[in-house]
């Protein structure tokens, strides 16, 4: 995916985004209005006019005060609601792009924690509307409105405000991004060096103590830390530059307003004429001879309030840097076009079920090669295998020999180069779901959802009754355990935290039995089990699979010869 596409997905629809934006603009306008009307009120009151002339301003001040707080509250509620609504669309949008690619077509997500990071990045994207777009738009709208309002009162002051704000926007966004980006580019290799060395020491402290090498390693780490700290101190002076210049511009806006406002000030009116003139002036803000005193006060104070609203911009830029990194990572993990190594659904409508073509094995691989996306060379080459009902096939070989690759090819997570037929039908002509209704996989680390036992079984066959589930638990030797835990409603915990590795395998087996695959591939079922109990578990798994079902057993460890009918050794 392109980063821009990810960002587009992350931005909620206008319909839900608009209320928050509107409240935000009203809130910021109320903040500026509070100071402006207050300034006008006080300066005007100094002329000691009849109170009647001030009542509108008094109401205005109070309304602005209430408005600033209330609109802020409403803005936050509306914008959060919109962000969450957007999150639902975003998650579904990303998920739908993940589905055809998963698990092997996703770049850099082969490990669970990286997948978690991908999900974290997706969720981080909800900050795009909330902390980037909304504050930027709000401050832009209010700043433009303030410039327009000031222009009406005194064009020169308006232009001064426009120039200072434009400069501040440029500094606060573009320059700020560049400076931060450069500092990051300079510091990150040093930071990585410290992290690497620290991990080296922390992870291997036992070795370092045993070999008396702690001090030498710590000294090296201190040097790396000193390099990082020196570089960070060097960047410190740049850190405040943008803030300083923005503060300078804010002051300059007030100063220029006074410089152009004071000469524009009309002759101070006196007596009854003043009252009439001021009443007229309240509307237009100008006298025949120039602006009134209250307008001068407004011109001087409005820039202060406007620059306070502008304060959201640098924060939004900071949030944008994080959002952009997340978006880029999401875009990177989800390729725009499925790589050729990831299978696509066949569409011939052939029926792989039922009676096989005469003499054809249930599953047959002929001279098959399989390659991972992005890999230069195939992970397995020239593999041939023929599986008939009831077969027990042991696939063995060193780590990296392609055992898991073969498993993924069998369930069509990876495309095969060569012949792969099920009941004599080429799998490439079949929808993947059809293939996976025949060939099932028990993964090395079976994934257990953070639900109860029932839910973790039901999704393999949602027509199963509780009795069916208990029956299958009995077949995999988990019935007593499950009953002890409180039956099918027993929670399994996040990532199956509440069950052991062997129990997880048995639950996975129960699922496979429920789904009633004709061929089941077990990928290292004993990898997370105590070695002494591995043999027993293996024997039980194979026994519970039943005599009709075919089993492909992937194992790097030796397996009792009695348990298998054929062995495929990957070089």
């Amino acid at each position: 995916m392109q980063t821009a596409e990810v960002l587009r997905l992350a931005q909620p629809r206008w319909k839900s985004f608009a209320p928050g934006l509107l409240f935000g603009v009203l809130r910021a306008a109320a903040a500026v209005g509070l100071l402006a009307t207050s300034a006008w009120l006080i300066t005007r009151a100094a002329d000691e006019p009849p109170i009647l002339f001030l009542s509108a301003a008094i109401v205005g001040v109070r309304a602005a005060a209430l408005g600033r707080a209330s609109f802020r509250y409403l803005e936050r509620l509306a914008s959060h609601d919109a962000a969450f609504r957007g999150l639902a669309d975003l998650r579904v949008g990303i998920y739908e792009r993940l589905v055809p690619l998963a698990p092997d077509g996703l770049r850099g997500t082969r490990r669970a924690d990286l997948l978690a990071r991908l999900v974290g990045d997706v969720d981080e994207l909800q900050n795009l509307p909330l902390r980037v777009v909304q504050p930027l738009l709000v401050s832009l709208v209010v700043c433009v409105a303030a410039v327009v309002g000031t222009c009406i009162l005194l064009p020169a002051a308006g232009i001064a405000l426009a120039v200072t704000l434009t400069l501040a926007f440029a500094l606060g966004t573009l320059v700020n991004l560049r400076l931060a980006g450069r500092a990051e580019a300079d510091l990150s290799p040093l930071r990585a060096d410290v992290a690497d060395r620290a991990l080296d020491v922390v992870a291997n402290l036992d070795v370092l103590v045993a070999y008396g090498a702690v001090d030498a390693r710590l000294a090296g780490l201190r040097e790396a830390d000193a390099r990082l700290t020196d570089a960070a101190l060097g960047k410190a002076s740049g850190a405040g530059a943008v803030a300083a210049v923005v503060s300078l511009l804010a002051g300059a806006a007030t100063l220029i307003a006074l410089l152009v406002g004071v000469p524009a000030l009309g002759v101070p009116p006196t007596g009854a004429a003043a009252v009439a003139a001021a009443a007229a002036g309240a509307g237009s803000g100008t006298l025949a001879g120039g602006i009134t005193g209250p307008v001068l006060a407004m011109l001087a104070l409005v820039p202060i309030a406007v620059f306070e609203v502008f304060g959201m911009v640098p924060l939004a830029v900071g949030a944008w840097r994080q959002v952009r990194v997340s978006a880029a990572r999401v875009a990177d993990a989800v390729p725009a076009v499925a790589p050729p190594e990831i299978p696509v659904d066949g569409t011939t409508g052939a029926q792989p079920w039922g009676t096989p073509h005469l003499g054809a094995p249930l599953v047959e691989l002929r001279n098959v090669s399989v390659r991972w996306p992005g890999a230069a060379a195939p992970a397995i080459e020239g593999v041939s295998l023929s599986i008939r009902p009831g077969d027990r096939v042991l696939v063995t070989g060193a780590s990296g020999a392609g055992k898991t690759t073969l498993a993924h090819a069998l369930v069509r997570f990876l495309e095969v180069d060569g012949g792969y037929t099920i009941n004599g039908i080429d799998v490439r002509t079949l929808p993947q779901a059809d293939v996976r209704s025949i060939v099932g996989l028990c993964e090395q680390q079976p994934y257990l959802f953070d639900e109860n036992l029932r839910q973790n079984l039901l999704f393999a066959d949602d027509t199963a009754t509780d009795d069916d589930l208990l029956d299958v638990l009995d077949r995999v030797g988990l019935l007593d355990w499950a009953l002890e835990r409180g039956g099918l409603s027993a929670p399994l915990g996040e990532h199956g935290a509440l069950v052991s590795g062997g129990q997880a395998q048995r639950i996975a087996l129960a699922r496979v039995l429920l789904a009633d695959f004709a061929v089941v591939v077990f990928d290292e079922p004993t990898a997370n089990v105590d070695p002494e109990r591995a043999d027993l578990l293996l024997a039980e798994l194979l026994a519970a699979a039943g005599p009709e079902r075919s089993v492909v057993l992937i194992s790097h460890a030796a397996v009792q010869p009695a348990l298998v009918t054929q062995t495929l050794r990957l070089p």
Binding site: L34, L35, A39, L41, I42, A46, E48, L66, A69, R72, Y73, H80, F84, V92, Y95, V99, R111, A116, G120, D123, R191, D196, A198, L199, V201, V202, D206, V209, A210, A213, V214, L218, A226, T229, A232, L233, A243, S247, T254, L258, V262, P268, G293, L301, I304, A398, S399, G400, Q432, Y447, D450, G477, R533, L536, L537, E540, A543, A557, A558, A562
Partner: protein, 665 residues
């Protein structure tokens, strides 16, 4: 959450300098605020009074000066923050690292090393925003608010009183609303945390869902879970945003009250315009830092969380720890041959569990001793006790006589006493210092306490460093001897590797079996170079194929034949068969709660399951291939331990926190 953790000042001296400079800068800033308000006010008032631009120029020039000074102070504040953050991070990092040897491997073993590394690297980076955004505002709040309130009082006591009365309302309301929110959040917490991880659960289980053809239905589930999450969170947010509402309302209403009251008093002529405008400009400034502190709540929370993790480690170091983890004296001229290790009633406890229960045994000198036993029998704990990595009771001594099982009573007593001293200091003194100190005290007799200097050890985990293979093998030696490296590698069946190969973090670049052999070679090198009388290896061949294992066994025998006491923990039949002396550990009976008792019934159940389904047993196929000829490499991905160091927080908490962060804004 406390505004600032006192431990920050205690552990990071640089933080004190930061606060001192920050306070001075804040005073400068408050002076600028007052001067700016006064000058703007006086220019406006005098202009209205009829003064021309020429007369006002000095004031305007002064105003320009104030603006410049304010800008410079803003710059210095940020520089101070950036410097403070960099120096404090470095200080904390160094202190944690210096603390690690004190805490020792046994402390680390109970923790995730990646998590600790994250704490002292990217975790500490949360201090950047903490220092840059939150603390300066906190200082400003403390400095600016009182000063401005006093100035307001002096200018117009009625306005001063208004502000003074409204200010305390803010914390009161925020606390009240915070309490209410906390309760609402606690009520929803379980649901929230489940909903927050719902999406992750689906994505992580995607391949499983595909296997079972259930992937298509999940989009609807994601939508409903996220929607449910939204409505639940919004319920909490409606409450928690109220605190921000109270803050804003108090601030803006107090400005409005001040403005209207000034306006009315101006109308009846009881107040001068100069005072009124001045007060109007200052009133919002009194609230501004407090509002900013609220807005930086999440920076504060992150910073506090980051330092909390660091202080947790630093607080774990007892203040009365040993002076320095001095490297024990070289024992290069130590006894080369025939040292027997005697273990007398060695008991190791992990909390309440007994890992090794009063083990007595002898590892004879010049022989290959293989220690075996079921998992949970305490094999690795026994090794850790020999290394002094865990506290233990009993005695582990060396004897240069061939005293198989017979120990002189006196020696045993002294040694046991030494062990007691060592374990007394909460496990710390069992490190190098304690061990070698005890050794010198007892070394007068033929028996002396086994010291870390006597042992060349390779653990279950290879524990290789980011360096060349040769550097790894010669770890801890000042002057590497290439010939010995070659010999050690040959003995460890690692001579197929190039010693000049550069490894990444955690030995990245080698397969599991290769890494294991390099680790064994490292132990052999130490034994050869420093004449360590005892070599201890924990499962050295678990990732090796039969042929390589055979060569390693030959190496072990060669070493033993040269007089070294070789102790190997292994369950591999070939290693057990090669043993000159065998020791079998049983699971300690006293740990009744744990593995031993639990294992029996479970095994029985398993047995039953087999008999039930044993129909499926088939005869072996004749054409089965011979046993593995290559190393079945244990899968290891170095990236696994590296990756999480880089970026950010666990996703599971990301959302509730995000909601929470908004709470005070």
């Amino acid at each position: 959450m406390k505004p600032v953790d006192r431990r920050l000042l205690r552990y990071a001296g640089a933080a004190r300098a930061f606060f001192a400079v920050g306070a001075v800068l804040a005073l400068g800033q408050v002076a600028c605020i007052v001067a700016f308000a006064w000058l703007v006010n006086s220019v406006v008032v005098r202009a209205i009074g009829g003064a021309g631009l020429g007369e006002l120029l000095p004031s305007l020039a002064a105003l320009a000066g104030v603006v410049l000074a304010r800008s410079a102070l803003a710059w210095l504040t940020e520089v101070n923050a950036a410097r403070g953050a960099a120096i404090v991070k470095s200080q904390l990092r160094r202190e944690v690292l210096a603390a690690l040897p004190w805490l020792g491997p046994s402390w680390l073993a109970t923790r995730n090393s990646v998590a600790i590394t994250t704490v002292i690297t990217s975790g500490l980076d949360a201090l950047d925003t903490y220092f840059a955004k939150y603390l300066p505002q906190l200082i400003l709040t403390v400095v600016v608010m009182p000063v401005l309130v006093v100035v307001l009082f002096l200018a117009d006591w009625q306005s001063g009183l208004t502000v003074l009365l409204t200010l305390p309302l803010i914390p009161v309301f925020m606390v009240l609303i915070g309490r209410a929110t906390e309760k609402a959040q606690a009520d929803q917490w379980q649901q929230l945390s489940r909903l927050a991880t719902g999406f992750l659960d689906v994505v992580e289980g995607l391949s499983t869902l595909k296997v079972f053809g259930r992937e298509k239905r999940q989009a609807a589930r994601i939508r409903s879970v996220t929607d449910e999450y939204r409505s639940t969170t919004m319920k909490v947010l409606r409450l928690s945003f109220l605190s921000g509402f109270a803050l804003e309302l108090a601030a803006s209403l107090s400005v409005a009250l001040v403005a209207v009251s000034i306006g009315l008093r101006l109308v009846d002529g009881s107040l001068a315009l100069g005072v009124g405008l001045f007060v109007l400009m200052l009133a919002p400034e009194a609230f501004l830092p407090l509002r900013q502190v609220g807005a930086q709540f999440h920076a504060a929370a992150d910073g506090v969380a980051a330092t909390d993790d660091v202080f947790e480690i630093l607080d774990a170091v007892p203040s009365a720890g040993p002076a320095a983890p001095a490297v024990a004296a070289e024992s290069a001229a130590g006894p080369a041959a025939g040292v027997t290790v005697v273990l007398d009633a060695v008991t190791v406890r992990h909390g309440d569990d007994v890992a090794v229960d009063a083990f007595c045994g002898v590892f004879p000198g010049g022989a290959l001793t293989v220690v075996s036993g079921p998992s949970g029998a305490g094999k690795s704990s026994l090794v850790a006790a020999m290394l002094g990595f865990v506290p233990f009771s009993g005695a582990i001594t060396t004897s240069s006589r061939n005293a198989a099982g017979v120990t002189a009573p006196g020696g045993a007593e002294v040694a046991a006493g030494a062990a007691k001293v060592a374990t007394g200091a909460s496990g710390l003194a069992t490190g190098p210092t304690g061990a070698s100190g005890a050794a010198t005290a007892v070394a007068t007799g033929a028996e002396r306490r086994l010291s870390l200097d006597d042992i060349a050890w390779a653990g279950q985990r290879p524990g290789l460093l980011a360096a060349t293979i040769a550097d790894n093998i010669t770890l801890g030696t000042a002057a590497p001897a290439p010939a010995l490296v070659e010999r050690a590698m040959r003995l460890a069946a690692a001579d197929d590797l190039d010693p000049a190969t550069l490894l990444g973090v955690n030995g990245w670049g080698l397969s599991g079996g290769q890494a294991q052999r390099v680790a064994v070679a490292r132990a052999f090198y130490r034994a050869l170079e420093r004449h360590c009388p005892v070599v201890v290896l924990d499962e050295p061949s678990s990732a090796l194929d039969a042929a390589t294992e055979g060569r390693l066994i030959a190496g072990l025998r060669e070493l033993a034949a040269a007089g070294t006491t070789v102790v190997v923990v292994s369950h591999r039949p070939a290693v057990v068969a090669a043993a000159g002396h065998r020791v079998t550990l049983a699971r300690p009976l006293s740990s009744a709660s744990q593995p031993a008792a639990a294992a029996e019934p479970a095994a029985a159940g398993d047995q039953a399951a087999v008999t039930r389904g044993s129909v499926a047993a088939r005869e072996p196929v004749a054409t089965r291939e011979p046993a593995a000829t290559r190393e079945p490499v244990v899968p290891r991905e170095p990236a696994a331990t590296r990756e999480p160091v880089a970026p950010r927080e666990p996703v599971t908490t990301a959302e509730p926190v995000a909601a929470d962060r908004e709470a005070v804004r």
